[in-house]
């Protein structure tokens, strides 16, 4: 394997960086916010951002799922759950936990260290691009008539697996809908909103 691939700063990489920056910003804002509606809207925006990021990584099918589930259904489900509970999260008493912080930092630095050994981003000689994946790309047009390789793998090569997965997800979805009371005209009964924290906050 010749390793003459040199990663460069292309516009796409810059785009990825700006998307990731926005993702981190949204994530921290969601953590800081105690206003649940804001968190639900921001999580929808987070899904849109990460879906755009998946597209730039060429994971189009994941982006499809992320858009449909993350930005569509799940923000609606979160709002449904929110209507059954209070609009505000209880204020968290922040007690410092030095041991936990140390563990997080240790694991994080080990993971950072591990990334050094990973193939460069976009390297055509990375193991993921040269081993069995290539086999599927070559054989799918002859073996299965479906032109999209991802669809062929999902629906044919591992069709039963996909069937099981969709059944699990469907069951979970039905259970959530039942819990939220989406079938009744009135819907779930809202719990009286108990204002917590500063009432002059305006939210």
């Amino acid at each position: 394997m010749n390793n003459d691939f040199v990663p460069t700063l292309t516009p796409i990489v810059l785009l990825d960086l700006s998307l990731l920056t926005m993702l981190i910003f949204v994530a921290f804002t969601m953590l800081k916010s105690r206003h649940l509606f804001a968190v639900a809207m921001l999580s929808g925006i987070y899904s849109l951002l990460s879906a755009a990021f998946f597209v730039s990584l060429d994971a189009v099918d994941v982006a499809f799922t992320e858009a449909a589930v993350g930005a569509g259904i799940s923000s609606v489900l979160m709002l449904g759950a929110m209507l059954l509970t209070s609009r505000r999260e209880k204020p968290v008493i922040s007690n410092r936990a030095p041991v936990a912080l140390a563990v997080v930092f240790a694991v994080g630095s080990v993971l950072f260290y591990a990334t050094i050994d990973m193939p460069a981003f976009g390297d055509p000689n990375a193991p993921a691009n040269v081993s069995i994946g290539q086999e599927y790309v070559e054989r799918t047009p002859d073996e299965i008539a479906v032109p999209n390789i991802v669809t062929a793998v999902l629906a044919s090569y591992r069709g039963f697996d996909t069937l099981g997965e969709t059944m699990v997800i469907f069951t979970a979805g039905v259970a959530v809908m039942l819990l939220l009371g989406a079938g009744s005209v009135r819907g779930g009964k809202p719990v009286d909103d108990v204002p917590v924290g500063d009432p002059k906050d305006g939210e």
Partner: protein, 103 residues
């Protein structure tokens, strides 16, 4: 030239993000989310052209639809507190507002 368009869209997304975080009212956030969705659609399009393969426009198409349906669903949920369709028309279900909805 796609780079210029993409840069403009990304900056605009960041600005919409500021509005979504700042609020202050619920409707500001929904508006910012909707606007962010429109910009994501544009970004997906220009990203396809930027990488030289504009074959992924189907996703932009899907986003345009999901964004619209999602916005309407959120607003409907907030107005009627349910997704169920009343057989006598929507007017039969009286809108219910909580204290928090006004702001």
């Amino acid at each position: 030239m796609f780079g210029a368009a993409t840069a403009a869209i990304v900056i605009a997304m960041a600005l919409a993000l500021i509005r979504a975080c700042a609020g202050p009212s619920l409707y500001d956030r929904v508006l910012a989310g909707n606007s962010f969705g429109t910009k994501t659609v544009l970004l997906l399009g220009s990203m396809g052209f930027l990488s030289g393969r504009p074959d992924f426009l189907d996703i932009a198409l899907l986003y345009a639809l999901i964004n619209f349906v999602g916005t309407i669903a959120i607003l409907k949920f907030f107005r009627y507190r349910t997704f169920a369709v009343s057989m006598d028309g929507a007017a039969a279900v009286k809108p219910v507002f909580g204290e928090g909805d006004r702001q």
